[in-house]
Every structure is written in structure tokens, then in C-alpha cells.
């Protein structure tokens, strides 16, 4: 699979994750979200989580498991955001899988 970003082709795997993590730009996230079966227009709440994930990856070199993500978001952004209900409302396909994909991270380890 591939994404077309302003004429540049970006390779993704069969689940839509980036083949090369260095290909990520904010435009890639926007295009991935719009390419969903039900297209998603990313808002500030989505970006807050996407940027958080990119920082997490930068620091720890892994995509966090959803349980760990939820806890970490709660610590950083407050309890009203660090819960499954809020995260699933933003990323209905699963905050681990879907948000990591938009953030240009690999699929979280342990995610089937």
C-alpha cells in the first residue's frame, strides 16, 4: 500500500503503518486519517495524542501498549483524558493501533 502526499509516494504496510518511520510528516497523519473507510478530520484533541505518542517514541523507542498509553496520557494531560472512554472516542479503532499509525510509529508490541 502507499499514500500519495503532494505527489510524493509514501510506502505503508498492509495495515497502513509506515514502512519507513522517517517518512512521517503532519501531512502523512492527515492523509492516513482521511484515507480511512470513514474519513477522519484530525482536530486539536487528536493532535494532542499524536504528538504525545511521537514524544513517547522519541524517548523510549517503542510504541506503548494501550494500557500504558492511557496511564501516561492521564499523567501528562489529566485524568479527564487518561481514560479509555476519551481515547476511544478519538480513535475508535483502538487508541494504540490507530493513534500510533497516524503518529508514524510501529504497531504497538503485543498488539495482535
Amino acid at each position: 500500500m502507499a499514500l500519495d502526499i503532494g505527489g510524493k509516494t509514501i510506502a505503508t504496510d498492509e495495515e497502513g503503518y509506515l514502512e519507513n518511520l522517517n517518512d512521517w510528516t503532519p501531512e502523512v497523519a492527515t492523509a492516513m486519517a482521511l484515507a480511512e473507510e470513514t474519513p477522519v478530520a484530525l482536530n486539536d484533541e487528536h493532535w494532542e495524542i499524536i504528538n504525545f505518542l511521537r514524544e513517547y517514541y522519541e524517548e523510549y523507542q517503542i510504541a506503548p501498549a494501550v494500557r500504558v498509553l492511557t496511564k501516561a496520557v492521564g499523567k501528562r494531560l489529566g485524568a479527564d483524558k487518561g481514560n479509555s472512554k476519551y481515547l476511544y472516542s478519538l480513535f475508535p479503532y483502538g487508541p494504540g493501533k490507530q493513534a500510533c499509525k497516524y503518529a508514524g510509529l510501529p504497531k504497538p508490541t503485543g498488539c495482535v
Binding site: 524517548e59 517503542i62 503485543g110
Partner: protein, 133 residues
């Protein structure tokens, strides 16, 4: 009931895939809420050594990931003192890996404990399941 799992890490972090594979398995196992202990022996002590730079090897530096393990509930890193000494290393050469203790107002506490070979043998004997990498 949760079982006690120990992961024995005996090989240098780069050059073979053992260390990275062990880390991946540990992360997966953590999702199943078992009691996980990591042991670092022989060249495995280099896995949590400070200042790793595998750039010239073309490998990803995954040493930062050990710092994330506390969030996965993995807080017991045992390092064999004799293995360090045999390599001219001491506790100061290891990364200061910490975890936040939820039961103590999220105070940061060290995850790494240096133990003697005899203590390590006892720790291993106390486990239900052993994985050796």
C-alpha cells in the same frame, strides 16, 4: 493466579538478536499481568550499560526502552555482581533505570539491583517459569 517469570539475559545487546527479542517477549508478557523479573548475567550486563551507541553497526539503539518497563509493571532488574566485575564494570556503569511506585505517591525508585552470584541462584530458584536468552 499470576506466575513468576524470569528472563535471563546473557548476551551483548548488539551483534545478535537475542537482547532485542528478549525485550519484545518481555513487553508482550507484561500485557498478561504476570510477575516479571529480569536478570542480567555474563555479557548480558552490557544490555543496560550507559552510553550505548550502535550507530556504526546500523542497529537501532533500543536501550531507552528499558526505562519504559516500569510503566509496564516491570520493576525488578537483577544484575550479577561477578559478571560486572569480570568485565571491569560497576553499578555506576549501568543506566539509572527507575519506576514509579503507585503505592508510594508515585515516588521514583530504582529498578536495578546488583546481587551476588549466590543471590542470583536463589532468585532463579524462586521462579515458576524461566526464559533464557
Amino acid at each position: 493466579m499470576a506466575k513468576k517469570f524470569i528472563y535471563l539475559n546473557r548476551k551483548a545487546p548488539y551483534g545478535t538478536v537475542y537482547a532485542l527479542e528478549s525485550l519484545e517477549v518481555v513487553l508482550i508478557a507484561a500485557a498478561f499481568e504476570q510477575e516479571v523479573t529480569l536478570a542480567f548475567l555474563d555479557d548480558g550486563v552490557y544490555q543496560i550499560a550507559k552510553g550505548q551507541n550502535p550507530k556504526a553497526l546500523g542497529m537501532k539503539n533500543f536501550s531507552a526502552t528499558y526505562n519504559a518497563l516500569g510503566d509496564y509493571g516491570i520493576t525488578q532488574f537483577y544484575v550479577e555482581r561477578e559478571s560486572l566485575a569480570e568485565r571491569g564494570l560497576s553499578e555506576d556503569d549501568l543506566m539509572p533505570i527507575v519506576y514509579e511506585d503507585e503505592d508510594d505517591d508515585y515516588a521514583e525508585k530504582p529498578s536495578v539491583r546488583v546481587v551476588s552470584r549466590a543471590e542470583m541462584a536463589q532468585i532463579m530458584a524462586d521462579q515458576d517459569v524461566t526464559f533464557s536468552f
